[in-house]
Amino acid sequence: MAEALQNTPPMLPPDMARPAEEKAVSPWREAWRSFRKNKLAIVGLSIVAFFILLAIFAPLIAPYDYDAQKLPNKNLAPSAEHWFGTDEFGRDILTRIIYGARISLWVGFLSVAGSVVVGSALGIIAGYYGRWVDAVISRIFDILLAFPSILLAIAVVSVLGPSLKNALIAIAIINVPTFGRLLRSRVLSVKEEEYITAAKAIGMKDSRILLHHILPNSLAPIIVTGTLAVATAIIEAAALGFLGLGAQAPTPEWGKMLADSRNYIIEAPWTVLFPGLAIMLTVLGFNLMGDGLRDALDPRMKN
């Protein structure tokens, strides 16, 4: 009967009898394929890649030292020597923006990584154990989500003291419920999926189901949400920096650069313009990429 299914008539043109060559196309490959077709997503990826490269090779690319002061060179307008001008300490803004990419990406990735780990763990516990564990954890998420996020971050930083590290922790904390809820709902919904029933039906243990089925199938939404969360985290870090609650001098953090130059907006608008543009561009990059990933990874779009 296997033959019945495969009764390819002998005289078929060669391209009909070729299915054997079709390679395994994993869902990830498939996603990458559709991601690649999305122009905006590629723009986003390029922007992100660009900033990542800047961050990695900052010492090689940057024309000056990010903290080399030359007070007499205060607020010079953009020129051949200083493409983006200088700030009030006579430091090269371009250099500081290049180094700033390190800070922003670092905060973005690390804080999101933190939230993903903590949030996912809590979310899985809540979703898996249910009952009062779920009730308690979910209430904690509710409470955390009930605060406007910046406000919560400010409060956390006030407790811990202003510094880049603490800003990072604050941002990680405010994102925990996002991932917690995501994972919880993934666990709850994946639990209902037929293939999980199938896994149970073959006598699989819960732990294996969690590890081999639920987690891998939650990865895609985590990646999408994570990418978008990096974008928000970067903005939030910059906002904290802007309020003086984030990175401290002479760290070239973009938000802080903005705040420091605020008073010179009339006299030296470039000092405000470029850091802001850098923030926006990076965040845009992550958002574009996140959108593209969502389109590529969202199973609803697949047929």
């Binding site: 495969q6 079709e22 196309v25 037929e194 199938a198 039906a201 006598g203 199938n217």
Partner: protein, 322 residues
């Protein structure tokens, strides 16, 4: 007669409904409300009924994927409702399931090889080469090629996916397969391929099937005996030939007459039922079918008829036959 492979006694599965200010249980969906039947070794029991009548729930309860509210399920004489979770897990290699939606029941992130390997791993086949060999064998048994092993479910057609589902069920050499509408999602031309496959496998491996479907033609084709469900109850259970030729329960009669026959010559008496199936959360008192029954009597509204053997092997739950 030897002992049946499966024996179900008064199986009940009620799902609580939460509501009210405090989210308390305010009622129950009586998805399965006291069902009894048995399946002999090597035979196919068909289960038909309209949507929501509790067919799938019965199937799942049988595998203890749901914990029955009440009732007993004997598998080879052992009451599996009393097994611990661990024991039940071991028991699962004896009984397997094939699902309606061939796509949803396959993990989209696993290759076919992984899907088929998993039951082997779970049931302790340690040797990797041995597992690979088994996978290849399984694929061939269900009419796929071994080069399909590296592919992902989305690269298959519906019929092929269903074959993978069947292969997975076969992987642990089960005695019983519960097939929950395995062909409903398939095209007619593919449906017949899968039905044939199931029949072939049954012969070859001496399998027992509980075959759930709503297509009466399919059920007749594949089943030795057929049970008709309505609102969580079996209203009639008989040999397939007998049930189709001489349906006794008014619901069965109406059901059979409602099916359009692909034959222009065929003329028949139509019994058209009025209204819809009542909600299982609020089933009618007495006979669950009395609200739509063309032959309803007074007693039907108050007394729930029990399933009785009216003729040898022909069980009906209806006051007309008392």
């Amino acid at each position: 007669m030897t002992q049946p492979l499966v024996k179900v006694e008064n199986l009940k599965m009620h799902f609580p409904i939460k509501g009210g200010v405090l989210g308390k249980t305010v009622g129950a969906v009586k998805a399965v409300d006291g069902v009894s039947f048995f399946i002999n070794k090597g035979e196919t029991l068909g289960l038909v009924g309209e949507s929501g009548c509790g067919k799938s729930t019965t199937g799942r309860a049988l595998l203890r994927l749901l914990d029955p509210t009440d009732g007993k399920i004997f598998f080879e004489g052992r009451d599996i409702t009393e097994l611990s979770t661990g024991e039940m897990r071991k028991m699962r290699r004896e009984m397997q399931m094939v699902f309606q939606d061939p796509f949803a029941s396959l993990n989209p992130r696993h290759t076919v090889e992984k899907i088929l390997e998993e039951p082997l791993i779970v049931h302790g086949v340690k040797d990797k080469a041995e597992r690979k060999r088994r996978v290849k064998e399984l694929l061939e048994v269900v009419g796929l090629n071994s080069w399909h092993a590296k592919r992902y479910p989305h690269q298959f057609s519906g019929g092929q996916r269903q074959r993978i589902g069947i292969a997975r069920a076969l992987a642990v050499n089960p005695k019983l397969i519960i097939a929950d509408e395995p062909v409903s999602a398939l095209d007619v031309s593919i449906q017949s391929q899968v039905l044939n496959l199931l029949q072939d496998l049954q012969k070859e491996y001496d399998l027992t099937y509980l075959f759930i479907a709503h297509d009466l033609g399919v059920v007749r084709h594949i089943s030795d005996r057929v049970g008709v469900m309505y609102l969580g109850n079996i209203v009639e259970l008989a040999d397939s030939e007998e049930l189709y030729d001489q349906p006794m329960h008014p619901y069965t009669q109406a059901l059979l007459s409602a099916v359009p026959i692909p034959d222009v010559e065929h003329k028949k008496e139509r019994v058209i039922l009025q209204g819809d199936v009542p909600s299982p959360s609020n089933p009618p008192k007495g006979c669950p079918f009395h609200t739509r029954c063309p032959q309803a009597m007074d007693t039907c509204a108050s007394v729930k008829p029990v399933l009785q053997e009216i003729q040898p092997g022909h069980y009906v739950a209806c006051h007309l036959y008392e």
